[in-house]
C-alpha cells in the first residue's frame, strides 16, 4: 500500500464526488445514472482514444434487444450512451490511464496533460475484462506469428482493416471466437474447425447456429490444441481429443495445416488495479467480492460490468451499472450504504454468484452461473434451512448467466445464504 503523502507528493489533488474508471458500456451507463441521481461532480477516465469500450470493435448485431427492442451493432449501442453523456455534459477524458487506486479512494491517472491525482468520494470500477492468452494455457510448441486472441483478431479486422490470416483454426468456443469464425469466413478466410476442451460449448447456442452451423464450420467438443508449429509464421497445429480429466488421449492426434490460430478461451475481469488497492477478489469470478450495493471490500469503491463478473449480454452490463449508480449515489449523499454481513455461499452445481454478501434487509438481484448443463432444474436460495427464493429453469447452461430477484421478505437478519442448482 502506498502512503497517501508519497502517493500525491508532486501532484495537486482534484476532489470529485465520483471518479468512473472506464468509458465502456458499464462506465457510460453508471455516469448517466449517477447524473440522474443528482451527482454532478463526476468524471470518466478512459485509457483508449475513444469512449465505447470493447463495443467499438463488436460490429455484429444483436445488442440492445432486451433494452431497446431492436438488434443494434456494438458501436450503435455504445453511441446511444455516449450521446447521453455528451448531452448531459458529463466530462470524460480519453487517453487517461488509471495506474493506481488506494483504499482512501485516491485515483492516479496518466493523462495527456501529465500525471493527475483525484480524491473521490466514490470510485466506480468499470474497466471491463481481458482475454486469456496462450501463455495462460501453456500450449507447447514454437512461438510463431499467427496466434491471436479472438478480441485481437477482431480489432485487427474491424478497427484497422487487417486480415489476420487465410487458413484458420479456432481454439475455444467462446462467443467472440464463434463470431470471429463467421467474420473471417465472410471476408474469405477458411475456418477449418473450432475446438473446445469441455464436453459442452462455452458460447451461446444462437452463435453456434448462426456463426458456425450456417457456414458449415465444425465444432469439436472434448478437443484441444496440443502443439503449435512454425518458425516465423504459424504453419499448423496438432489437435487431440481429451479424456474426462482434459488430458490429451494418445493416438487421437490430428494435424491441421493453418496460418492462423485464434484463441477464445475465456475472459477474466481486468483486476490489476483492484489487487494493488487490496480489494478482496473472489477466486471464482476473478472480480471483486461485492455486497448487494455492488460495493467492494473498500467502502466507497463500487464495481459493475465485466470487471466484476463476465457477462454474456451488454444489456445486463448496462442494467448492473445503473443499479451500481443508485447505490453509489446513496453512498455519496449519505456517506454510507446499509451494512451487508450475510455471506452468499455457492452450493451444489453453482459456479459463482454476484453479489457475495447481502444485508438480509433489502430485495437484491442475484446473478449466477451453473457449473454444468442441466435440463430442468431449480435454483434454490436457502437460509437457516428454509427456502428463501426459487427459480425453476427448463434448461440451464454455463454459457448463460442466470439472474433473478431475491425478496427480502423471506430473509432472516442472520445466517449465511446458500445457492444450489437441483436437477428435477
Amino acid at each position: 500500500m502506498i502512503a497517501e503523502k508519497e502517493f500525491c507528493a508532486d501532484t495537486e489533488l482534484i476532489r470529485k464526488d465520483a471518479v468512473i474508471i472506464g468509458a465502456g458500456p458499464a462506465g457510460l451507463a453508471a455516469a448517466v445514472q449517477l447524473y440522474k441521481q443528482g451527482i454532478r461532480d463526476l468524471v470518466i477516465l478512459e485509457r483508449e482514444e475513444e469512449p465505447g469500450g470493447i463495443l467499438r470493435q463488436c460490429i455484429h448485431d444483436g445488442f440492445g434487444l432486451g433494452r431497446f427492442g431492436e438488434s443494434l451493432s456494438g458501436p450503435e449501442y455504445a453511441r446511444i450512451f455516449i450521446d447521453e453523456v455528451e448531452k448531459l455534459g458529463i466530462p470524460y477524458e480519453t487517453g487517461a490511464a488509471v495506474t493506481r487506486l488506494t483504499k482512501d479512494r485516491l485515483v492516479q491517472a496518466v493523462t495527456r496533460k501529465g500525471l493527475r491525482t483525484y480524491q473521490a468520494k466514490a470510485v466506480i470500477l468499470a474497466m471491463g475484462c481481458k482475454e486469456r492468452t496462450r501463455g495462460a494455457l501453456g500450449i507447447p510448441g514454437e512461438r510463431p506469428a499467427g496466434v491471436f486472441t479472438a478480441g485481437t483478431a477482431q480489432a485487427y479486422m474491424n478497427l484497422y482493416n487487417r486480415m489476420p490470416g487465410r487458413e484458420v483454426v479456432i481454439l475455444g468456443s467462446g462467443d467472440i471466437g464463434m463470431i470471429m469464425a463467421r467474420r473471417l469466413t465472410l471476408e474469405g478466410a477458411h475456418v477449418q474447425a473450432v475446438l473446445e476442451i469441455m464436453p459442452y460449448p462455452a458460447g451461446l447456442p444462437r452463435n453456434i447456429l448462426q456463426c458456425l452451423d450456417d457456414y458449415n464450420i465444425p465444432l469439436y467438443l472434448r478437443h484441444t490444441v496440443t502443439c503449435i508449429h512454425g518458425k516465423s509464421r504459424l504453419t499448423g497445429v496438432t489437435a487431440a481429443q481429451v479424456d474426462g480429466q482434459r488430458r490429451p488421449i494418445p493416438g487421437t492426434e490430428k494435424e491441421y495445416s493453418c496460418d492462423t490460430l485464434i484463441l477464445s478461451v475465456g475472459l477474466i475481469p481486468e483486476n490489476k488495479l483492484l489487487e494493488d488497492a487490496g480489494i478482496v477478489i473472489d477466486p471464482k469470478t476473478h472480480g471483486a467480492v461485492v455486497d448487494e450495493n455492488l460495493q467492494t471490500s473498500i467502502p466507497g469503491v463500487f464495481s459493475a460490468g465485466n470487471v466484476l463478473h463476465v457477462h454474456d449480454l451488454v444489456d445486463f452490463v448496462s442494467l448492473e451499472a445503473e443499479a451500481l449508480a443508485r447505490h453509489a449515489a446513496e453512498y455519496i449523499q449519505k456517506g454510507d450504504v446499509p451494512h451487508c454481513g450475510l455471506d452468499i455461499l455457492c452450493g451444489d452445481g453453482i459456479g459463482h454468484t454476484v453479489p457475495q454478501k447481502v444485508s438480509g434487509e433489502r430485495n437484491f438481484n442475484l446473478s449466477l452461473r451453473v457449473r454444468k448443463p442441466m435440463r430442468g432444474c431449480r435454483i434454490v436460495v436457502r437460509q437457516n434451512g428454509r427456502e428463501a427464493a426459487v427459480k425453476t429453469m427448463k434448461k440451464a447452461i454455463p454459457a448463460e448467466m442466470i439472474q433473478f430477484q431475491v425478496p427480502a421478505g423471506k430473509l432472516d437478519r442472520s445466517g449465511a445464504l446458500e445457492v444450489s442448482a437441483e436437477e428435477l
Binding site: R56, I59, H60, D61, G62, L65, G66, S71, L72, S73, P75, E76, R79, M157, N158, L159, Y160, N161, R183, L186, E187, L204, P205, R206, I208, L209, Q210, D214, D312, L313, K395, E400
Partner: protein, 120 residues
C-alpha cells in the same frame, strides 16, 4: 417428422421443435414467445440472416466504418451481399445511419453505416 431448431431471434436461444407431416407444419413447441414460431416458419421456407461487415473509408481516423443490414436477407444471398459491400468506398467524415446500399442485391434490406468516422 420432428425437426429441432435453436431460435436466434434473441439471446435466450429457445430450443424449438417442429412436427412436420407431408410438408405441413403440424405443431411448433418450445418457443418462449411468438417470434420463435415466426422464426421456425421462416427457417422451414426461406432461411434469412443479417450480417455485419465494414466498408473502406478514405481520409478518416479509422480505415473502415462498420456496416450492417437493416433486415435479414436470404441465406444464399449472403456472399453476394458481401461482394457488394466490398465495393463500397466512402470519404470521411462518415456518420452512423447513412445508407450506403439501398435494397442491396435486389433484396428489401439496406446496408447502413453503424459508426461515426471523423476525418483525420
Amino acid at each position: 417428422m420432428k425437426r429441432k431448431f435453436t431460435c436466434i431471434v434473441c439471446p435466450n436461444g429457445c430450443e424449438i421443435e417442429a412436427d412436420i407431416e407431408k410438408d405441413q407444419v403440424v405443431s411448433i413447441t418450445g418457443q418462449g414467445c411468438p417470434r420463435g414460431r415466426q422464426y421456425v416458419l421462416q427457417e422451414l421456407t426461406a432461411p434469412a440472416r443479417t450480417i455485419a461487415s465494414s466498408v473502406l473509408v478514405r481520409g478518416g481516423v479509422l480505415p473502415v466504418a462498420s456496416v450492417r443490414l437493416t433486415k435479414p436477407v436470404p441465406k444464399d444471398m449472403i456472399f453476394h451481399v458481401m461482394d457488394a459491400i466490398r465495393n463500397v468506398v466512402l470519404t470521411a467524415p462518415v456518420s452512423a445511419g447513412t445508407v450506403v446500399l439501398r435494397g442491396v442485391c435486389g433484396t428489401d434490406s439496406d446496408v447502413i453505416v453503424t459508426k461515426n468516422v471523423p476525418a483525420a
